[in-house]
């Protein structure tokens, strides 16, 4: 009984004591769990942000490392390059040398009769076919460089042997401005005139072994000016250029007159552009007005009768064009070029003490086709014709009553940009009888890289 009472008492007490405690305990645990959950989730978000931050930093570091690696590599390369550049600069006294080039030309010819004068024309220099056999032709030495920030200088010396004697010709010796504004360029000294498309080229870059007949008849090969030239290029998309030359020298058809006023002047204009990627063109017109005094023909090799000189006005007009084509404009493999020039001259004065009023014309048309990377074939027709009147019978200028013409076919091979071998056949009707001529020519270029003149 006592036990029962005691027990129930104890149970009551226990119940009284434990229950609230248990209730309190249960409440505590739930709160803790929630707290822990929150803590864990907070930690998770925290770590996630930290991890992603770390990841981002890692990526950045990797990128930086890659950049650093690249920079290091670059720094190494710059050092390398600097070493190379400094090494290249060690030959300092040499580095101001101008670009120097030499051209070696020569040919073997098979000519029947040949000629050194064109009937009806006063020869203006060394022209003609030359004789048969091997001949050395001309060696040409060229030097050019900037003189300073304002000028460019160029000199070309031609060497050739004539009947056992070495002849030295100052082909070009000119300076040119490089700092004039607005498309203006001035040139002074001895230079090739801008009159005529072919005239501004050296002989070695011609497409045939000799110049076309009008160049031989009207220029004695080429027209050189001793004097000044000014040219201006318009600020347009198409090339439009015009200029003038004053000549105090004796370059045929002019003569040196030893006076303050020039012996000849030239006016010229050129227009050129592209048609699509594949075609380019250039047309030109020019006029040379010369006041000749006792102009003698030839080059002094043959005995010229002293009185056979010309004194008077010589007016020459030249119209020229060139059209070039290459597939997609890529001229290194295949290309085609067609060019032609027309010359018309009026001379009025005294020739060999005879009143002389003559008109002469000439033209040529040629096409050159590069059909494979190193091979070209070309065809040319050239004509000159004189109408000098009946008074000059018996002189050099006696009207031949016919025009002089030729047809030439050439074939050349250029194993590199610096060498060329050419075979040319010409049917020559400069004189009355037909002459079949063969030429085998070499052109070698040493030293400075040639300019790709259009």
């Amino acid at each position: 009984m006592v036990n029962q009472m005691y027990l129930s008492k104890a149970a009551v007490i226990l119940t009284l004591v434990i229950l609230p405690v248990a209730a309190v305990n249960a409440q505590d645990t739930a709160g803790e769990i929630a707290e822990l959950r929150q803590l864990v989730s907070e930690m998770r978000t925290d770590y996630e942000t930290r991890i992603s931050a770390l990841e981002a930093r890692l990526v950045a570091a990797e990128r930086a490392a890659r950049g650093a690696e690249r920079d290091a590599e670059e720094a190494y390369e710059i050092a390398e390059q600097t070493a190379v550049d400094q090494g290249a600069g060690t030959s300092a006294p040499n580095s101001y040398n101008p670009s120097i080039g030499a051209i070696l030309m020569g040919h073997y010819a098979d000519v029947d009769s040949g000629w050194d004068e064109i009937p009806g024309f006063q020869p203006g220099g060394e022209i003609g076919t030359g004789g048969s056999g091997f001949s050395l032709g001309e060696a040409e030495i060229n030097m050019q460089a900037n003189v300073d920030a304002k000028h460019f200088g160029n000199v070309t010396i031609g060497l050739h042997e004539d009947e056992g004697e070495l002849e030295i010709e100052l082909e070009e010796a000119w300076f040119q401005t490089s700092d004039l504004p607005a498309g203006i360029t001035a040139t002074g000294g001895r230079f090739f005139s801008a009159s005529g498309y072919l005239n501004s080229f050296h002989f070695h870059s011609d497409d045939f072994t000799d110049r076309p007949l009008p160049y031989q008849a009207f220029y004695g090969g080429r027209y050189s000016v001793d004097g000044i030239q000014a040219r201006w290029i318009a600020p347009t998309k198409l090339l439009f250029e015009m200029g003038a030359e004053l000549n105090w020298g004796g370059g045929f058809p002019a003569t040196g007159n030893g006076e303050t006023s020039p012996g000849a002047y030239t006016l010229f204009a050129k227009l050129g552009g592209d048609v699509g990627d594949s075609h380019s063109w250039l047309v030109g017109a020019s006029h040379i007005s010369a006041d000749a005094i006792e102009r003698s023909g030839g080059h002094g090799h043959e005995i010229v009768i002293p009185e056979e000189t010309f004194t008077g006005d010589s007016d020459l007009t030249v119209v020229d064009f060139v059209w070039k084509w290459a597939p997609a404009g890529n001229n290194s493999i295949r290309n085609f070029k067609i060019q032609g020039e027309f010359f018309s001259r009026a001379e009025d004065g005294i020739y060999a003490d005879i009143d002389y009023n003559g008109d002469q014309t000439g033209w040529y048309l040629q096409g050159v086709w590069q059909f494979a990377q190193t091979w070209r074939v070309g065809l040319r027709h050239d004509v000159v014709d004189s109408d000098n009147g009946p008074l000059l019978v018996g002189t050099e200028l006696e009207d031949p009553g016919r025009s002089s013409w030729r047809n030439s076919l050439m074939f050349d091979w250029s194993p590199s940009e610096f060498s060329r071998l050419r075979l040319q056949y010409t049917n020559d009707r400069v004189l009355a009888e037909s002459d079949n001529q063969w030429f085998l020519q070499y052109i070698m270029s040493v030293g400075a890289h040639a300019a790709h003149q259009f």
Binding site: N146, K237, E417, Q453
Partner: protein, 297 residues
């Protein structure tokens, strides 16, 4: 007099409508100028991807373009030696002469490779200053971009903030693109190729390509039949994956060799416009990798 001046102004004005007029020798530099200068400039590009930059002529339209240019951007390292000096001399434009601010030669600012130890024409048309085809290495582009942007802002200082931000934008994109390319180029490493000319030396340097043979025995000199036959003999035991060439190089030698070795001829765009899809520097690189990936493995 005032009438003459007015006439001159009319003649001059249409070409000076833009802030700067830029003459670029090659399409890659034209594209880089476009990235860095946007609409602010008028760009004339002298060559297309189909024209050999070695053999161009100083044609009339180019003389006119240089005459009107404020800035000439070319490769240099003698790549344009046959025509650029002549253009500069003929154009009568003091602002773009060599050594002036208006004359920018990209090769001066990058590491050049294949610098010859000795120079002699019997070795072919070698460039004393090293291989000039610098633009197919991404680092060349980013280095040239830095220098070019600075030059543009010197010439046109009123827009220099523009050039700076365009440069930053370009370099950012170029860097991103490079990261993508870096992941792709693993498969191309050590790829064995024959090349017509040394046009891809910088690309090979970047990608670690193995150029086992150059068809031109001497740079700039078309290979002879005998040279090709020797090459065929050398390559037969272990033929390369293909023969690469630019769009302007003669296809005959690579056609001959690839035919006999039974390997493909691979024409790479080389520069902007070389394939239809190579429209800017990014797509040029992407296209180049894509074509090489097609043949790798």
């Amino acid at each position: 007099m005032s009438r003459i001046i007015a006439l001159l102004l009319i003649l001059v004005s249409p070409l000076k409508a833009n802030a700067l007029s830029v003459f670029a020798c090659e399409p890659e530099w034209g594209a880089l100028v476009a990235e860095l200068a946007g609409e602010d400039v008028e760009i004339t590009v002298a060559t297309t991807a189909f024209q050999d930059p070695h053999s161009l002529q100083a044609r009339p339209s180019l003389i006119a373009a240089v005459r009107n240019a404020d800035l000439v951007v070319c490769t240099g390292a003698d790549l344009e030696i046959g025509w650029l000096p002549l253009l500069l001399r003929r154009a009568g434009n003091p602002a773009v002469q060599l050594g002036t601010q208006g004359n920018f030669l990209a090769a001066n600012y990058v590491r050049r490779i294949e610098i010859p130890k000795s120079i002699d024409r019997s070795q072919g048309d070698v460039h004393p200053q090293g291989n000039p085809h610098i633009h197919l290495h991404p680092r060349s582009i980013s280095r040239v971009a830095d220098e070019l942007a600075e030059r543009l802002s010197q010439l046109d200082s009123s827009n220099s903030a523009d050039y700076a931000s365009r440069l930053e934008y370009f370099q950012h994109r170029w860097d991103e693109a490079q990261s993508v390319w870096d992941e792709r180029i693993g498969t191309l490493k050590g790829m064995r190729l024959a090349s017509h000319h040394r046009s891809f030396s910088y690309l090979a340097d970047w990608l670690d390509l193995d150029i086992v043979a150059t068809l031109e025995a001497k740079p700039g000199i078309p290979p002879s039949g005998a040279q090709l036959a020797t090459l065929l003999e050398q390559l037969t035991p272990n033929p390369p994956v293909g023969v690469i060439r630019t769009p302007y190089e003669n296809e005959k030698p690579s056609a001959w060799l690839s035919d006999r070795l039974d390997i493909p001829q691979i024409q790479l765009p080389f520069t902007i416009g070389g394939t239809d899809k190579a429209v800017d520097l990014f797509s040029l690189y992407d296209q180049t990798l894509r074509i090489l990936e097609e043949y790798a493995n």
